[in-house]
Symmetry: C2
Subunit: 181 residues, 2 copies
């Protein structure tokens, strides 16, 4: 099995990416501290054609040298918006008809493998601070919580890993919906 | 929806983790450079009860302060083994009957959403260097390549994100197999 070279991968130019039909998801980062994590979320969002990233509170914005180290250019292809208060981002998304899904370990949360996006609905997935998670105030404003079930000794996954898992999982289910349309 | 406190998450102690039934996967890191990535793979492997991590070539081993920063203790719960040469790890795994699946963009690769583990088989998933990927020599020794399909401008995902996506995806499919047994 010959490994493919970069030019054989058929990746999009930034112009093509901007014109491409997007996955109808928005990623909200609620006070994410690590620049590494922010950059990584940009890179994953580029790969799965995420509509937009909302950077909220202490979450740093591009241009930023440290974000670029992990985003590797994905800050140019993925649109983003900054909100000083996460709750204002959520209110705007609710007004625009988005379903707000906080990624949290909470009472009554839906286990990720049991969550299926519905045709015609738009979703915003909220990821929180590395230690504190999504703020309770934002959880209270959400339509539901999605939880990545975990069976080990640690309490949580790294936030760039959580975002990768949720984006991939829901992207595949969304694509399957599209095929059935 | 009230967020759960750490003590409500029902996580395992290190002793319980060691005794727990493991997911029959081995993760092989073929010359992974970043200590951050190595630590993150430990943390994800802890969550999904991965059998063992094989650290190969330039991949650093615990104890290491930088690995601990992202592993957050998962180097205590997840067993690991070091090989100077990745090919020796692969040969040992083949002898033990493991299916070797390299995570690579290669000719004839299987797209991750189309890969289903088979009942009774054991799998080793090989992740490569941040820039160079899995070595061609190791790809040639593999039973198959699994590719995470990507639709953006960048050529690859961060390796800790790739590992998170593959481990989660295959873990869920493996659990579904177990239920059908």
């Amino acid at each position: 099995m010959r490994k493919l070279r970069n030019h054989e991968l058929g990746r999009k130019s930034i112009g093509e990416h901007k014109l491409a039909e997007k996955t109808p998801f928005i990623v909200v980062l609620d006070n994410v501290r690590s620049l590494n994590n922010i950059g990584s979320v940009f890179r994953t969002s580029d790969a799965f054609l995420i509509n937009c990233i909302y950077l909220c509170g202490i979450t740093a914005c591009p241009p930023n040298k440290e974000i670029s180290k992990t985003a590797l250019g994905a800050t140019e292809s993925v649109p983003w918006k900054y909100y000083e208060q996460t709750k204002d981002a959520i209110l705007d998304l609710k007004t625009a008809g988005f379903q707000i899904m906080s990624i949290e370990q909470a009472q009554g949360s839906i286990s990720l493998e049991e969550f299926y996006p519905e045709q015609g609905k738009q979703y915003a997935f909220v990821f929180g601070h590395e230690v504190k998670g999504v703020k309770q105030e934002i959880v209270d404003m959400s339509d539901a919580c999605i939880e990545i079930p975990q069976f080990g000794t640690k309490h949580s996954l790294n936030i760039s890993v959580s975002a990768g898992i949720v984006i991939w999982d829901v992207f595949v289910k969304f694509k399957a919906l599209e095929v059935r349309k």
